[in-house]
Amino acid sequence: MKKVEALIRHFKLEDVKEALSSRGVRGMTVTEVRGFGRQKGHTEKYRGAEYTVDFVPKIKIEVVVSDGDLAGALEAITTAARTGQVGDGKIFVSDLSAVVRIRTGETGDSAI
């Protein structure tokens, strides 16, 4: 099983969710994060003093898929989250050694 972590733009979350769902992904976890990268932050003013907000708001999606579904998930995310502008985000894939569904105790692919 693979864990796919994708950092995407806020307003792409809905699209990415749809794209994944349409490929049969039935679960995912979302976190609000801040990203630092090629996309620049912005400068704010507060009572005359300037400060730079380097970290821009991003959404992190974590999806666990069976090895066979990996390619599809990657394509779904890449397509749905792309705008072509700097800051579209990254996808990171890693291996999982075990998955457990708490409710039933099931493990492995059937727990996803």
């Binding site: 003013k45 009572r47 005359g48 003093a49």
Partner: protein, 489 residues
């Protein structure tokens, strides 16, 4: 910890016992004094069915006006609370709210206990010496002028009962103490601040008050401060500035090579609410200072007050826009307050046109003030010095510049004359300057002593660790928005 707790409880019991013993005495005491003071009014009550006289009706109207105006000024505590907590960080929010809440309670007790007596009691040109304790002197208000007999002569022109006078003056005293709160925020120890406020209410504010409004030497010389640009705002401002310097800046505020770091406040909605409330409250502050329903005067003062606030708002926004590139909301709010502070002294003496000009200048002043104090490394989280000190001084001088000959009579001070731009020459301006300097001197000296004594005894600044974690947990064991716990329960 446990021992401390036990000792604490013991201490408390002691204090408590003392209070309970003292209490009836106090009550009895005051009972007599106040009963005396109230006889006139109480005697009126049964007579009321027989119908009031025209003179009674004037007293009724004046009393309602003074009380309602005083309530509006009281409400400014909410305004200050919101502005100051909005401009500070979340981790210090409980602390600032606590300070701003308790400061009025402290002033109420302190000003009642001694402050009023020092300020309005008959005495020398420097301080009141009669009827000092618990507003307990003889007084037959609302009898006024020649009919008055009592020990609070300086304020005998107001045709309202003694307690109405007291209430209106009390809310002003509370305001002065509150100004300090914002300036020293995010690093001062809670209990030291409480003690400092008590000192302000008991012997700093009232002494200057005696000079200006209590028949003291400045009043005799023709110094005029209608509603307190100096008496309330610049006094609060000086005390704040001294506090700022002695406390030093917040950790991380100033970097190397003159770098000024922004420390944004946590909630601009709160700050905006606060500023609206202050604007609202100022309609009690300025027009109420007539302490009588003089229709022409109070109507005009409402408008001059409002015009200066509006002009200050616009000019600060514009100046910030041009100077800093964007219309910073914090500056807009400060501009409004600056206009209000500046018009406070001259509100009754100037035309509406002049008040617009005063507001425009005040709004610009405050923007430059914020930048200036930051360059001086005076770390003032809410801009109290720029708003209250700078514009308090400016507003006081405006009397000497813009007062018109026909309006200066409202000061009821025979020594006062029209301002420079209205043919009055430099005289009044110089008097105003004298007053500004004298009050500054007194407040600086006394507050330096007060702050330093506090520093030596109980300490005034929280530890660096506490400052970094936030005063809410360190001083209060609370957090303002405990959302993580909440989500979990």
């Amino acid at each position: 910890m446990r021992n401390l707790g036990r000792r604490g409880v013991f201490l408390a019991s002691l204090v408590w016992a003392a209070l309970l013993v003292a209490a009836p005495v106090v009550a009895a005491d005051v009972g007599t004094a106040a009963a005396g003071a109230e006889t006139a009014a109480a005697a009126d009550a049964p007579a009321a069915p027989a119908g009031p006289t025209v003179a009674d009706l004037k007293i009724m109207a004046d009393t309602v006006w003074v009380l309602v105006a005083g309530m509006l000024v009281f409400f400014m505590n909410l305004g200050f609370g919101c502005v100051e907590s909005g401009f500070c960080r979340e981790k210090n929010c409980v602390n600032i709210l606590s300070k701003n809440f308790i400061v009025f309670a402290v002033s109420s007790i302190g000003f009642w206990f001694l402050g009023w007596g020092l300020m309005f009691g008959d005495g020398s040109g420097f301080v009141g010496t009669q009827g000092l304790w618990m507003v307990g002197g003889a007084d037959n208000s609302p009898a006024s002028g020649d009919a008055y007999s009592g020990v609070y002569t300086a304020i005998n022109w107001a045709t309202v009962p003694l307690w109405a006078k007291f209430f209106f003056q009390l809310v002003f005293c509370g305001t002065a103490a509150t100004i300090v709160s914002g300036a020293v925020a995010e690093r001062i120890k809670y209990h030291s601040f409480i003690v400092f406020s008590f000192i302000m209410a008991i012997c700093i504010y009232p002494v200057v008050g005696h000079w200006i409004w209590g028949g003291g030497w400045l009043q005799s010389r023709g110094f005029v401060d209608f509603a307190g640009s100096t008496q309330v705002h610049s006094i609060g401002g000086w005390a704040a500035l001294v506090g700022i310097i002695i406390l030093g800046p917040r950790m991380g505020k100033y970097g190397d090579r003159g770098k000024v770091n922004a420390i944004p406040g946590h909630n601009l909605s709160l700050a905006t609410i606060g500023c609206f409330v202050l604007w609202f409250g100022w309609f009690g502050f300025n027009p109420g200072s007539t302490m009588a329903v003089d229709p022409g005067a109070i109507s005009e003062i409402v408008v001059t007050t409002n015009a200066a606030a509006a002009a200050g708002t616009l000019s600060a926004t514009l100046v910030a826009w041009l100077l800093l590139g964007k219309p910073d909301l914090g500056m807009t709010l400060n501009g409004c307050l600056a206009g209000l502070v500046a018009i406070t002294a001259p509100c009754a003496f100037v035309t509406v046109g002049a008040s617009v000009i005063i507001g425009l200048i005040a709004g610009a002043l405050v923007v430059f003030g914020v930048l200036f104090f930051d360059r001086m490394r005076c770390d003032d989280p809410v801009g109290a010095t720029s708003v209250h000190l700078l514009n308090g001084v400016f507003g006081t001088l405006c009397v000497g510049l813009f007062a018109t000959p026909d309006r200066i009579g409202r000061a009821a001070n025979p020594e006062a004359s029209a301002g420079l731009f209205y043919g009055g020459g430099l005289e009044q301006l110089i008097t105003q300057l004298t007053g500004v300097v004298a009050c500054a001197g007194y407040v600086i000296v006394t507050t330096v002593i007060a702050w330093l004594v506090l520093k030596q005894t109980m300490g005034i600044r929280v530890s660096a660790e506490e400052e970094s974690q936030g005063l809410d947990i360190g001083e209060h064991g609370n957090t303002a928005y405990p959302n993580f716990v909440k989500e979990l329960s």
